[in-house]
Symmetry: D2
Subunit: 400 residues, 4 copies
Amino acid sequence: MPPAGYHREVTHMPVFDDIAPQLAAQAIELPSWAFGNSGTRFKVFSTPGTPRTVQEKIADAAQVHRFTGLAPAVALHIPWDKVDDYAALARYAADHGVSLGTINSNTFQDEEYKFGSLTHADPGVRRKAIDHHLECLEIMNATGSKDLKIWLADGTNYAGQQDMRGRQDRLAESLAEIYSNLGSEQRLVLEYKFFEPAFYHTDVPDWGTAYAQVAALGDQAKVCLDTGHHAPGTNIEFIVMQLLRLGKLGSFDFNSRNYADDDLIVGAADPFQLFRIMVEVVRGGGLNPENGVAFMLDQCHNIEEKIPGQIRSVLNVQEMTARALLIDGDALAAAQAAGDVLGAHEVLMDAFYTDVRPQLAAWRESRGLPANPMAAYAASGYQQRITEERVGGTQASWGS
Amino acid sequence: MPPAGYHREVTHMPVFDDIAPQLAAQAIELPSWAFGNSGTRFKVFSTPGTPRTVQEKIADAAQVHRFTGLAPAVALHIPWDKVDDYAALARYAADHGVSLGTINSNTFQDEEYKFGSLTHADPGVRRKAIDHHLECLEIMNATGSKDLKIWLADGTNYAGQQDMRGRQDRLAESLAEIYSNLGSEQRLVLEYKFFEPAFYHTDVPDWGTAYAQVAALGDQAKVCLDTGHHAPGTNIEFIVMQLLRLGKLGSFDFNSRNYADDDLIVGAADPFQLFRIMVEVVRGGGLNPENGVAFMLDQCHNIEEKIPGQIRSVLNVQEMTARALLIDGDALAAAQAAGDVLGAHEVLMDAFYTDVRPQLAAWRESRGLPANPMAAYAASGYQQRITEERVGGTQASWGS
Amino acid sequence: MPPAGYHREVTHMPVFDDIAPQLAAQAIELPSWAFGNSGTRFKVFSTPGTPRTVQEKIADAAQVHRFTGLAPAVALHIPWDKVDDYAALARYAADHGVSLGTINSNTFQDEEYKFGSLTHADPGVRRKAIDHHLECLEIMNATGSKDLKIWLADGTNYAGQQDMRGRQDRLAESLAEIYSNLGSEQRLVLEYKFFEPAFYHTDVPDWGTAYAQVAALGDQAKVCLDTGHHAPGTNIEFIVMQLLRLGKLGSFDFNSRNYADDDLIVGAADPFQLFRIMVEVVRGGGLNPENGVAFMLDQCHNIEEKIPGQIRSVLNVQEMTARALLIDGDALAAAQAAGDVLGAHEVLMDAFYTDVRPQLAAWRESRGLPANPMAAYAASGYQQRITEERVGGTQASWGS
Amino acid sequence: MPPAGYHREVTHMPVFDDIAPQLAAQAIELPSWAFGNSGTRFKVFSTPGTPRTVQEKIADAAQVHRFTGLAPAVALHIPWDKVDDYAALARYAADHGVSLGTINSNTFQDEEYKFGSLTHADPGVRRKAIDHHLECLEIMNATGSKDLKIWLADGTNYAGQQDMRGRQDRLAESLAEIYSNLGSEQRLVLEYKFFEPAFYHTDVPDWGTAYAQVAALGDQAKVCLDTGHHAPGTNIEFIVMQLLRLGKLGSFDFNSRNYADDDLIVGAADPFQLFRIMVEVVRGGGLNPENGVAFMLDQCHNIEEKIPGQIRSVLNVQEMTARALLIDGDALAAAQAAGDVLGAHEVLMDAFYTDVRPQLAAWRESRGLPANPMAAYAASGYQQRITEERVGGTQASWGS
């Protein structure tokens, strides 16, 4: 064993060509709602050119794919993106070079859901919420979507307000009914969230609860890990590791945060955290398509431009994936085995500090994509065009 | 010195009559906006009977005072509560048994304020924001309000987005201009907040910043402490102590929280914290009117009834004030001096665990108030009446 | 349905006699190490009269039981409490009126465990750690203890230092071997902890991980919930509810905290949190002996007297249990069913704010116990006696 | 204005030669105690070759400077580093190529300080604590040290234990006496800390308190910002900005953290945070020697090698300083002025993602230093030599 702290004179970091195939296979799903307006409880600022329809959202999402080659699918949110003819919508998407992806349900904007949805004490409200999910499954059949993603706002604001135990049991029952209606190729993906909009208790607050619930359902039920949905200080890459180990990591909702569920651009608040997450994804086989991990964005561009915001986001994921793939695995294993704390850490940091941007730019160009997608989008005139064309109508936001 | 851990056989806790005068002098200001609808970025639920006008908000606030005797003033929010004739509004309030209190400015709902207000790099936006505050001062002259409370949403979402240092300097300049327009009996009270709606940096994020800014202005500038605006784990009563010591505690915005700025009913999330805060208020002379500490609520009743929510809140403050006043000061000082950790803590807890509700109920009745304000309000028929009468119009909420 | 916010004119809170049987059955296990010195990394202060031997620790623990009737068992920590003859130790305890309880293993104080124990990459270190637990099982056979409690300090300080996934797999293997050696009446109880002494990742950091690990082992494996081992803001009573629901709550380590794992007296930092925890214990049947939930203290009396500190602690648990049992269940269920947020919360708070201390004092006396255990202990002269007698020798602390 | 999100085709990032002079002037002070053993309350692991004397600590610190050229001074901790002849110690340091730096006082390891030091209610204990600081000033006179750094462990563990207000007043008095004894070139630097070892309240818990205290003293009193001493989520670079703006940033204690005061290697837990801090240092003139900001490490190498740990740390600071200096200031200002959120953020990230390591290595060589200090140290044989030579004696740790 070399002295601790020994810096490897010779490194065997993979070269870019080694990792290019995995990068080429990478696909990140975009949320249709990221192209609409969003904000805080204090104010939703509007932006010129914001879509008024789901078609315009898809058109915008297609721009992200056009300039990056990274975003071939668009996730829909029901009822925000409801249309009469989903087959037509799928064709519209295909015409724009993208496909329709995950269907996200919504049980938090009707007055009936004030005190819960799938967990509600009232069987009538539960029925309505379950039926909404069955409708989502029908939409999935029409769109060819694979995943039904369920995020629940259910919870309470005051101790004693509701019986948490009863709600948990009812959640299990409701999910079981929805699960029993899944097609053989479909999945139910349950998202957890630390808090908000409920401020005392949330019915699915942590990965443990999501795991216990989906484990009781069966193999087609998985967990969605939203990177912004954890308590302060939580080691998120540990959870990534654990869910992959347990075979239950269904999807990511990527974003970043400094405080609560800030929904900032992924990688913006803590790039090193995104790197560590991607390291565990690679380590646990999460890039392997047969493991079925879906990579999605779930962000709010409250004050920044939305299309460039999404371009920046998928590039951030791509760059961090590249860095994670560049780790010198042999050196890392050797340092770990030797108990060389500083050496092992340094192997990791060597990959993190490697500037992958020039090689990614060249590689993009070799594949017919712009070296600098941000600049290419800005130069394309698309933003000016939609700003001019999209006058009148109601800009899309969370409520519509 | 008795053995450590010694439990006093004889206690000299004050009796209720001793503390009644201080309770009788207690006054808590209500926020007009607590009577309108509020919610999260996900959903604002409506409630039957919600006010449509500032007059209806004042009428509702007057009910809280009617049943508790604790809430003689209503704080206004400009422009939400703008009227043509403030003298008439003051008379309207007086006719309902209350007065108009603190004026709260608002520089977070115009599109121009997307990137800041008093801190904005653009002199035109700063001018607009300063002028808004000068308008608030004029309203104060018309209403007889003493305090101008400034909470700023100013901040950024991404590192590098703006120059924090320049913003801080511009904040100082803007505040100085506003301060120079204060009448001799008026005060500028600057509120700080840990985060939200900005998610990377906030221009007035902590008491230290608020203190440094108001210390530079002069004696008529103070700090507002909102109990929900701190980082996790912050010892808030320490800040209460410190601001009182420095002569800079201008006012409280009372509410409670488990996670972020949840704006729950004061005392609901952590009653012991409210107790400790009131202990430091008492200790530091904060109940003494000449020290000028204003006690206000700043809450959101997202899912609970609003008028009873406010009644519950002022009762919580009253009950905790009573407990804080019941501390056996001699015993506490003796235990502290003796280094008797358990004994001193126990003196505090003896007051906290004392059930003051029966005595408060009897005392209320002796003063012509209902023993049980919550039940008395429920029985009064007021809620049913406003539910029936207030049909049509637009329910008030944060945007109106 | 009465108007929301309606305060029940008539309450049906249980009376003390109704709840006395459950209080009479309550038993809280004391940790032997709470009687030795403890501290922070900065300083361990000593105290006059601190035990030098396990026998002296047991004698001190017996005092807590003598004055409260609440603490009939003492948990041991191996190797700190190793003796040659455990049967003799059990007799010694019995002679003092207490029994020997849970056996706690220790794999964090040998140099070999610097990089882990049950998770270590080196099979030799894992062997040593597993063998230590098998030795603990033998001690349990000798003492008649039921539970083997495992808290692991295993983790890393730097990203990349070790392979988290491999460690998790090895943890599963190590636990399986220990589990396979359990007697039919014995249980393995796995404790989780958010962080410390590891500062990047901890191998069992959350209830989800503990649950996934023990679920893989079998019915005799359970989770230990230490109330100080969570991320800031975590709703601990939710986890209590969930683990009871899943049949996996093995035991509590009671203490309280404001920041990290402060190990303060249970109920001292946030009495309302302890109340809510006990409410969920009652709700989930956790007081029912057949559900097998063990209630233990795990605290550090760094600066306060140790024996009175333990007396204060068990009284805090008893008082909060009484308050939790006093909830008017019918009123609570009715308010919850009616969506009466304020009403339901108020039912809970009515119990919390009830001063149970006078009735508990009278009830204690009726059972031959002192009304005021703190004062009775102080008056007993025990503290003075041990202070005088225990001179020479080495005071017990975490390392011995 | 270009379209928002526009990526600058042409950048004017400074080239390395532009920033080299500022890097050449950089000096980071090492703490003597980083070379001794440290740990947690659970265990202090020992390391072969650990110093037994202050001379051996200085010899080790000199190695860090030898291989990096970055660490010309060593901070001492009194009484851990007490000697009879400080002039001789200064000569010893000079012979090893380093000087003696900041003097750190210690009022947390004597039994008298159990309940406080400069804040203690007992005048005798305060006298002792003040006298200790006067002794430190005498040592500073002998060593030529400029700064007296005061970190206080003072605080309490239980609400009510002590009177916070009285302690704050006594703190002011104690500091004033110490301050009045400063030489004209000496400074008093007061450090704040969120919590630990006190777990309820800390007497100097935040920058606001430290600022208020030193502002009351005078121009020679400053604040020390330890990067690990903040509440979760705190925006530390904002505080850096504010203290520089107020002229009160005296020094940094660099380290990093994920949870509490983890004292990990600076830059290890969150490299981007260190970058943002250095950006504000540059922005606020903190690299300008006349502004008097002292850069120090304050870390614990609990499980990693100590000398390489310190080498890694100063390199991390150097690398991040280089990145901060490489920001294209014109482009940043332009994007900020244009309200181009994504563009401004991208200018910052362009500097952060630039791999400065190759240029730094070449520059080091050009100055007669090793390109790779970690490898050079490992190859030097120093570690083996001290491991062999330093047998017997007592390894230094926090208590000695």
